[in-house]
C-alpha cells in the first residue's frame, strides 16, 4: 500500500515538475540591451513539487485509512436548505436594507456592497436568458455596455437626468437584445454560445474604434453623478439651488451620495427580482421554461419560439442595460476596458454557480465571487488566480450549483 501511494504521489510530483519547470522555473527577464534572457527560479519549482508530492501522498493515505463512507454533504445541503430558504431570502433582503445603518458600514463596505448588488442584478438579468429560457449567452456584457454608454451619452449630450436616461438605456439595451436575438433564433447550445460571444466582442471593438462617438479607448469622462430626484449631493450647490444636506438639515457628508446610490441599486435589483418572479408565473415565463426543457414539444403545443426567445433576450438585456446605467453613474467614467469577455464570464459564472434559475443562489454566488475577492484587494496579483481556481473547484464540488433546488412554478393540488 505504501509503495503504491509513493508511486502515485511520485507521478503527480513528476507531472508538477513538467508543468512548473519551464513556466515557473525559467522566467523570461529583460536583459541589459533590451533583449530577453532567462532567469532561474528552481526553488519555487522544488517547493511546488514537494507540496504536490506530500499533499497527494497525504490525500491517498487518508483515503485508505478512513473507512469508505460517503459524506452526505451534497445531498444533505439541499434538503437542509429547503426550510432555511423560507426565511433566508427575507433575512438577506432585510440585511441588505439595513446595511448602511450598521456601525461598520464605512465608505469601503458600501462601495463593495454596491458592486455586489450590481452583479446580483446582472446575474438576475442573465438568469432570465440562461436560467429560465435556457439560451446560453456568453456576450451578456454587450448589453451592460450598451446601457452604460447610452446613459453616459444621453446624459452628457442632451443633459437628460438620471431618471430620464434609465428607461431609455434599458430600452436601447432591449433593442440590442432583439437585434442579437434575430440572427441566432435557429441556433442552440454551443453555436449560440460562440455567436453571443462574438457579438459581445463586436460591441467592444466598435466601442474602441468609433472614437468620434465613444471616445475610443479613452472612454467617456465626466458622466453625471446621480441626484436625489433633481437635488444634487454637492457640498456647495450652485446659486439658487438647494443641496441634499441643506434640504434635510443634515451635516454635509460625502457618504450621503454613496448611501443613496446603494439604495438605488438595491431597489432596482429587487425590482428585477420581483419582475422575474412574476413573469415566471405568467404564460410567458412558463413558455420560457418549457422552451428550455424541450423546443420541439413546445412547437407542437403551439408555443411561438420566435416571440418567446426574443422576449427573453429583450427582457434580460433590459436589466443588463439598467445595471449598465448604474455602473456609469457610479463610476463617473466608462471605457471599453470595463466590458471585456471576462465580465460576461463572471456574470455567467454567478448564474451557474448559484444553481441556474435560483434567485437566492444567484445572490449568494455574487457575494461569494465578487464580495469575497474584493475583500482581498491587497492580494491583487493572486486575486484572479484564486478566482479561476474557485470557479473550477466549486463546479467540481457541486456541478449543479450552490442551490440547485428550484421551487416548481406550479404545484398540483391534492394527491
Amino acid at each position: 500500500m505504501i509503495g503504491r501511494i509513493v508511486k502515485d504521489a511520485g507521478i503527480a510530483a513528476l507531472i508538477t515538475f513538467a508543468l512548473a519547470g519551464p513556466i515557473v522555473g525559467l522566467p523570461i527577464l529583460s536583459g541589459p540591451q533590451g533583449n530577453f534572457v532567462l532567469g532561474s527560479r528552481f526553488g519555487d519549482v522544488a517547493i511546488a513539487v514537494a507540496v504536490v508530492f506530500v499533499g497527494r501522498a497525504a490525500y491517498l493515505a487518508l483515503r485508505e485509512a478512513l473507512p469508505r463512507r460517503r459524506i452526505a454533504i451534497p445531498l444533505g445541503w439541499s434538503a437542509a436548505a429547503a426550510p432555511l430558504g423560507r426565511w433566508f431570502a427575507p433575512a438577506l433582503i432585510a440585511f441588505a436594507v439595513l446595511l448602511p445603518l450598521l456601525p461598520f458600514a464605512d465608505r469601503r463596505v458600501l462601495d463593495v456592497a454596491i458592486l455586489v448588488v450590481t452583479y446580483v442584478m446582472l446575474g438576475w438579468g442573465l438568469n432570465v436568458v440562461v436560467g429560465l429560457a435556457g439560451l446560453l449567452d456568453l456576450g451578456y456584457v454587450a448589453f451592460y455596455a450598451v446601457g452604460a454608454y447610452s446613459y453616459a451619452l444621453l446624459a452628457i449630450s442632451f443633459g437628460l437626468s438620471f431618471w430620464e436616461c434609465l428607461p431609455l438605456a434599458g430600452l436601447f439595451a432591449a433593442f440590442f437584445g432583439i437585434a442579437l436575438g434575430f440572427p441566432v433564433l435557429r441556433l442552440r447550445g454551443d453555436y449560440l454560445a460562440i455567436v453571443t460571444l462574438g457579438f459581445g466582442e463586436m460591441v467592444r471593438i466598435i466601442l474602441v474604434n468609433w472614437t468620434s462617438l465613444t471616445g475610443g479607448p479613452n472612454g467617456i469622462t465626466g458622466v453625471p453623478r446621480p441626484s436625489f430626484f433633481g437635488i444634487p449631493f454637492s457640498a456647495n450647490p450652485p446659486e439658487g439651488t438647494t443641496s441634499f444636506h441643506q434640504l434635510f438639515g443634515l451635516e454635509f457628508s460625502s457618504l450621503h451620495r454613496i448611501v443613496f446610490l446603494y439604495y438605488l441599486v438595491l431597489a432596482l435589483a429587487l425590482v428585477t427580482n420581483a419582475v422575474t418572479l412574476r413573469i415566471r408565473k405568467l404564460p410567458l415565463g412558463r413558455a420560457w421554461e418549457a422552451l428550455r426543457e424541450d423546443e420541439i414539444a413546445c412547437r407542437a403545443l403551439g408555443v411561438n419560439p420566435t416571440a418567446t426567445k426574443l422576449s427573453a433576450f429583450a427582457i434580460g438585456a433590459m436589466f443588463g442595460g439598467f445595471a449598465g446605467s448604474l455602473f456609469a453613474t457610479r463610476q463617473g467614467f466608462i471605457s471599453p476596458e470595463s466590458f471585456t469577455f471576462i465580465e460576461s464570464a463572471i456574470i455567467l459564472a454567478i448564474v451557474v454557480l448559484g444553481g441556474m434559475g435560483s434567485q437566492v443562489g444567484v445572490a449568494l454566488a455574487a457575494i461569494l465571487l465578487i464580495g469575497v475577492p474584493e475583500w482581498f484587494r491587497d492580494l491583487d496579483q493572486y486575486r484572479m488566480l484564486a478566482f479561476g481556481a474557485a470557479m473550477v473547484a466549486i463546479m467540481v464540488w457541486r456541478p449543479a450549483g450552490l442551490l440547485s433546488r428550484r421551487a416548481p412554478t406550479i404545484r398540483l393540488k391534492g394527491g
Binding site: N35, L38, G198, M391, P399
Partner: protein
C-alpha cells in the same frame, strides 16, 4: 493582383495557425461535446515554452537553426501535452456526467487560472524573440510591388501540411484513432467493446494540446512577440474556425481556420485593420444563419 497574392500568402500562414488550434477544439467537442475554453491558453503556454526553449538554446548552438527548431518543437509539444492531460484530469474528468454548463464554467475558470498563472510566473510585459529564420524570396512582381514570401511562411505552411497528413494517418490508421472515432460515435458502446474511454479522452487532450503547441511555436516565430493574453483572441477565433468548418469535423477545422485567416488578411488589406475581428464574427453569424451546421458538418437529427 500582386497585392492580392501577397494577402493570400499572409492569410494562408495565419489560417494555418488558426487551423492547428481549431483541431484541438473540434476533437474535444467531437468526443465529449464540450467547448474546451482553456485550449487557447494551452496555445499561449506553448508559445511561452517555445520562447523559453529558443532562449535556452541560443547560447549553445547559434548556427544550427534547423536543429534548434526541431528540439524546441519537440520540447514544446511534450510540455503542452502534459498541460492538456492535467487540464482534463483536474477540471473536466470529474464533470464528465455533470450538466454541460458546469463543464463550460469549469473550462472558463481554468482559462482564467492559466492566464493569471502565466502572468504571475512570467510577468505581464510583452516578450519578444529575435527572428530565427531569415530571408525569403520574391514570387513575382511588377510595377514596383513584389510579392514577397519569407522562408518562415514556407516553413509554417509546410509544417502544418505535414502535420495534417500525419494526423490524418493517426486518426484513420492507428488503434488510438479507431478508439477515438468509436468514442466519438458512442461512448458507452465503445466501453462495452473494451475501449478504455478515459484513456482515449485523455489522449485526445494530449494530442490536441501537442498540435496547439505547433501553432504556439509558429506564432512565436512569425510575430516574434507574445504575452500572457494572446490565448484568448486566438482561442476565440480558432473556435470560430471550428464552428465555421462544422464542429466535430477535422477537415472542417482546417478549412475553417484557413478561411478565417484569409478573411482576416483580406479585410485588413482592403478594408480596415481595426474591424477585422468584427468581419470575422459577422461572417461566422452569416454562415450559421444559412448553414447552421457549418461548412462540412453533418446536420444533427433531433428526435423527440
Amino acid at each position: 493582383m500582386e497585392y492580392f497574392v501577397q494577402q493570400l500568402v499572409n492569410g494562408l500562414t495565419l489560417g494555418a495557425i488558426y487551423g492547428l488550434i481549431a483541431i484541438g477544439y473540434t476533437m474535444v467537442y467531437g468526443i465529449i461535446g464540450m467547448i474546451n475554453f482553456a485550449h487557447g491558453e494551452i496555445y499561449m503556454i506553448a508559445a511561452f515554452v517555445a520562447l523559453i526553449g529558443f532562449l535556452l538554446l541560443s547560447p549553445v548552438g547559434a548556427g544550427a537553426v534547423a536543429l534548434a527548431l526541431i528540439l524546441v518543437l519537440l520540447g514544446a509539444m511534450a510540455i503542452t501535452a502534459v498541460y492538456g492531460w492535467a487540464l482534463e484530469r483536474i477540471a473536466y474528468r470529474p464533470l464528465r456526467t455533470a450538466p454541460r454548463l458546469a463543464a463550460l464554467i469549469s473550462a472558463i475558470g481554468m482559462s482564467i487560472l492559466l492566464q493569471n498563472y502565466v502572468q504571475l510566473a512570467q510577468g505581464a510585459r510583452v516578450k519578444a524573440l529575435a527572428p530565427q529564420i531569415h530571408g525569403g524570396f520574391t514570387l513575382f512582381g511588377s510595377g514596383g510591388f513584389a510579392v514577397h514570401v519569407s522562408y518562415l511562411q514556407v516553413v509554417i505552411i509546410l509544417l502544418t501540411f505535414a502535420l495534417m497528413i500525419g494526423f490524418t494517418l493517426v486518426i484513420t490508421r492507428t488503434s488510438f484513432g479507431r478508439a477515438q472515432r468509436a468514442c466519438e460515435q458512442d461512448r458507452i458502446m465503445a466501453a462495452l467493446v473494451g475501449i478504455d474511454v478515459d484513456r482515449t479522452i485523455s489522449m485526445t487532450f494530449v494530442v490536441g494540446a501537442a498540435i496547439a503547441a505547433v501553432a504556439g511555436l509558429a506564432v512565436t516565430l512569425y510575430y516574434g512577440v507574445i504575452d500572457f493574453f494572446i490565448g484568448f483572441l486566438a482561442g476565440v477565433k480558432a473556435f470560430t474556425a471550428a464552428v465555421l468548418g462544422g464542429i466535430g469535423s477535422l477537415p472542417g477545422a482546417m478549412l475553417g481556420g484557413l478561411l478565417i485567416g484569409l478573411i482576416e488578411a483580406f479585410w485588413s488589406g482592403y478594408a480596415s485593420v481595426e474591424y477585422k475581428d468584427v468581419a470575422t464574427f459577422s461572417i461566422l453569424i452569416m454562415v450559421l444563419i444559412f448553414r447552421p451546421t457549418g461548412l462540412l458538418g453533418r446536420p444533427e437529427v433531433e428526435k423527440v
